[in-house]
Structure formats: C-alpha cells, structure tokens
Symmetry: D2
Subunit: 153 residues, 4 copies
Amino acid sequence: MAAERLVADDDFEDRVRASFERQPAMTTIGAELTRVTPGMVEIEMAFSDRLTQQHGFLHAGVISTAMDSACGYAAYTLMPDNAAVLTIEFKVNLLAPGKGERFLFRGAVTKPGRTIIVADGQAYAFGADGEAKLIATMTGTMMTVIGRDGILG
Amino acid sequence: MAAERLVADDDFEDRVRASFERQPAMTTIGAELTRVTPGMVEIEMAFSDRLTQQHGFLHAGVISTAMDSACGYAAYTLMPDNAAVLTIEFKVNLLAPGKGERFLFRGAVTKPGRTIIVADGQAYAFGADGEAKLIATMTGTMMTVIGRDGILG
Amino acid sequence: MAAERLVADDDFEDRVRASFERQPAMTTIGAELTRVTPGMVEIEMAFSDRLTQQHGFLHAGVISTAMDSACGYAAYTLMPDNAAVLTIEFKVNLLAPGKGERFLFRGAVTKPGRTIIVADGQAYAFGADGEAKLIATMTGTMMTVIGRDGILG
Amino acid sequence: MAAERLVADDDFEDRVRASFERQPAMTTIGAELTRVTPGMVEIEMAFSDRLTQQHGFLHAGVISTAMDSACGYAAYTLMPDNAAVLTIEFKVNLLAPGKGERFLFRGAVTKPGRTIIVADGQAYAFGADGEAKLIATMTGTMMTVIGRDGILG
C-alpha cells in the first residue's frame, strides 16, 4: 500500500501522539507509543504482574487493549485532522502464552477507506534472549467519525 | 442448554472463584465476580478514569478484558476439576460508547464440548438512571487443557 | 429491541424479497426466503450433495453464505428505500457438523444504526426426527450505503 | 515459519488433492486447487453469474467458501496422514466488491500446532488488465481431528 499518498494530514504523528497521551488506559498498562508512520503504529510495554491472568501470563484482554490502540492509531494516521477514530469490532487470535519481559504491538492498515478502515495487528513477546515470538494477531474494523459531539482524536 | 447436567465437577463455583482471585488483571481494572452458575458467569466493575480511551469512554480493550474473563469462566464452570481454560480467540463488536457509572459483563456457554467450548458475552453499561445499555458483544472460543505444565484454573 | 419503530420504510418486506430474487447465489444453493419481519429474516434450504465438503457435511462456506444473506437482509429491513446493504465483515463459529435433511438460517439485528448495523445469525439443522440442532452462529457488521453507483438493494 | 520442517507426512500434496476432489462444493463453485506447498494452498476460480449477490458481485459467502477451503487445506498440509481437518471458526473482512474475471484465494498457516492451527487467507480479484486486487481477508481456526468416526481428509 502506498500509504504515504494516503495521508490526509501531514501532522499525523503529532495528532496520534496527542491522542495517545489522552488514553489513560495506556498509562494504566504501562504502554508507550514507540513508532508512528503512515498507516502503521507500534506500542511497547514491559511485563507486569498486575496485568496477568490466573496462569501468570499477560491477560488476553490486555494484549487486546494494546493491539486495539495500535490498530486504531494506525487507521488514525490516515484520517483528516478533524476526524476521530472509533473501533467498530475486532477479532483476536491468541497464538502463544503472553509470557516475556517486554511486548511489542504493531497495527497496520490493510485497507484504507473514507469511512471504514481495516487494520491488522500483531503482538510479540520478547524473552531474556531478546528473540521475538508472535503471541497474538488481530483484525480490526475502524471508523472515521467527523463532527460528532465534539469527539476528536 | 441443560447446563446443569453438563457440569463435570460440583465444586465449579469454588474453582471459578479461586481462579478469578488469581487474575491480578481483574484487580487492576476493579472487576468483581458477582455471579457463577453452570455455564454462565457475571463480572461487574465501576467506571474508572484510569481505564478510558481518548474520548473519556471505557477502552474497548478493557471491555474485552472483562468479557474474556466472563466467557472463559463460563466455559470453566463446565470443565473437570483437573482442567485449565485457555482462550483460543474472540471477536468483539463495540455497539455503543463505554460510558456509564457501572458495567456488567456476562459470559454464557453457547456450545459445550470436551475440548472446544464456544461462549458468547454481553457488556452492559448502567447510567445514573440505572437502565442497562448493551455496549458490546463477544463470541469466544475456549479450550480445555488438561495436564499441561501444571497449569490449572 | 423495538424493531417495529425502527423500520424506515413500510415496504421493507417487498424490498427484501425483490433483492433476494436478484441473488443468483441463493438459487445456486437452493435457498428460499421464508420469513421477513422487522429486524429479522429466515432462509431455509434442503441438504444437497453438491454443497458438501470432504466428509459429506454441508460446507462451512455454504452455511456462511446463507447466514450472511440472512444477517444482511435483517439489517436491510431497517433501511430506507433508497439504500443498499453491504457486508463489512462477519465471524462464523461452526458448532456441529452440517448434517441434516433441511437447514434454517436466521439473522436478527442486535444493534441498529444509521450507517453501521450489527446482526447475529444462527444456523439450525433438522434431521429426520424434525428436531432442530444449532450448527453455527454468526456475528456480522453491515453497512447502509446510499447513492453509490446506482447500487440498490 | 520453517514450514518444511513442520510437515508430518511427505505425501501432504496427494492427501490435500484427494480431499479437495471429495469436496463437491468446490465443483459447484467452479474452484480449482492450483498450488499446494507446506503450510500454504491456493485455489482459483472464474467469475460466474450463478454465484453473485444482488449487485452482481461475487457473494461474500462464496468468497468465504473458497477461502475456508484454502485455509483448511493449508492447515491440512501440516497434519499427519491419519488426521482430518475441521474448521472451528473464521472471520472474514470484505475489503472491496467481488468483481473481476478470475479470483485467487490463498490460505497460509500463521501458527501451527498439534491440535489447533491458525491460518490466514487472502482473496484477490483479477480484472481484464490482469492486476490483482485484494478483496477480502480471513483468519480461521482449524482443528486436527484423529480417530473420529472414520472421518478423514
């Protein structure tokens, strides 16, 4: 995808970073926005005991939270500056336990569109050896919303 | 579904409650396990600013976290006492913004099975008027795991 | 859902039936439109060897084809008369083998909306004893399209 | 993925082709099995009026039928010779109308596994100019079944 040409607003990175700062859920799970390019966003976080399920692995919902933000912001990079992004739906496949020292979540636009944008995401776990392991994938459908209730970002 | 007859272990409620206690992610999002019946589980939580996205609504991932636990434990009520439950995949549709004072997440088994269990979930928001609003639905595929690495619950 | 009040056009049944007639895929799989009510549609078909997979059961894709039409037309019952319905995405869970003499596919609107409509579907198989068995479920996201390329229905 | 090493049976291509031949649904939609490699399968078909929806495009369910077979057989290439493949669930995103002269459906294993295999699929349309257009994506969860009711393939 020639994503560069799809960017509707050159300040996409500033907009994404400002919106991410306004997501308290990202602070709560200790997630950082590490990469913002046209149509692709990466979020990283450290493992934390506070975010685990009963077997001591990262909870599937926490993995989904970070991937949803990554996919949503990937879509948002391509939107005009007066738009807001909403998640309509997503599907997650959990491929391996969420164990590791650090995690990287990537969202990338598969199909841009004026109203509907489809993005795919991957979640990777990094162990002590630094090797990346694919632990989950997501497909999400995002919607561009303009002029609704002053909702922005 | 005649779920009563499907229960493989009469102590299902104790097992579910013990496992829920071992999910730190539930404490982190302030979720409580309020109902455990054969094939159905309910989880409730209060709204918290710490769990919101950029528009001030509950993050879709937090909604998914609670629904995944509800669906997973609904499946777990039907499993034998030496089993553990794993989420293979789920899909979430976000139907309305996650705004409200309290939230209820229900998971119920649609299709029991020895290895694969399919559960459906609903998320409801309650405003100041106390009326329930359906804000999200989930379909999840859960797996019964027995004898893997001492994983239980 | 008070679907009655949601109907935007009283001729919804005629519109749905006319559109169904223009779906050759329904003829190819031998499907009939048996029920059209506000927000809910049923489609029925007989088992046919031509539509099976390698184990002699109805192919998962054929089940999906009929459920997608049922969910799409359920959404379409609530749309204005100048609209067309498009499927954005759907998820199917196959719960039991597609074996039986006849099949019924029901689609019903879970969340109406101006642009996005979410519908849920069920597929039932009927054996010689006439008992219904749930063999699959669907959640689909449908879109109302108005004024695109003369697309209608 | 080092899929070569994952092959449990060197006759995987023969097994896949034999099973495909036993899928009458593939004949009904005019689909051919054009490529079978370890962990990846391609299916092709010509456009046919018989398989369209109300706007004259390939029905989303027909696209799903071919992608489900591609994903299922991709999983099947990695299974032992006494196994059968079952689809547990799949999700499809429709990205563009199903219009074209020919279609190619690719399924590839994202996550191999002893019991559960996750595969991702793409559907491409080819117009008169021969250029490929991505029209749909799938994520499917497949299951290895051994020794059930003489089910094979």
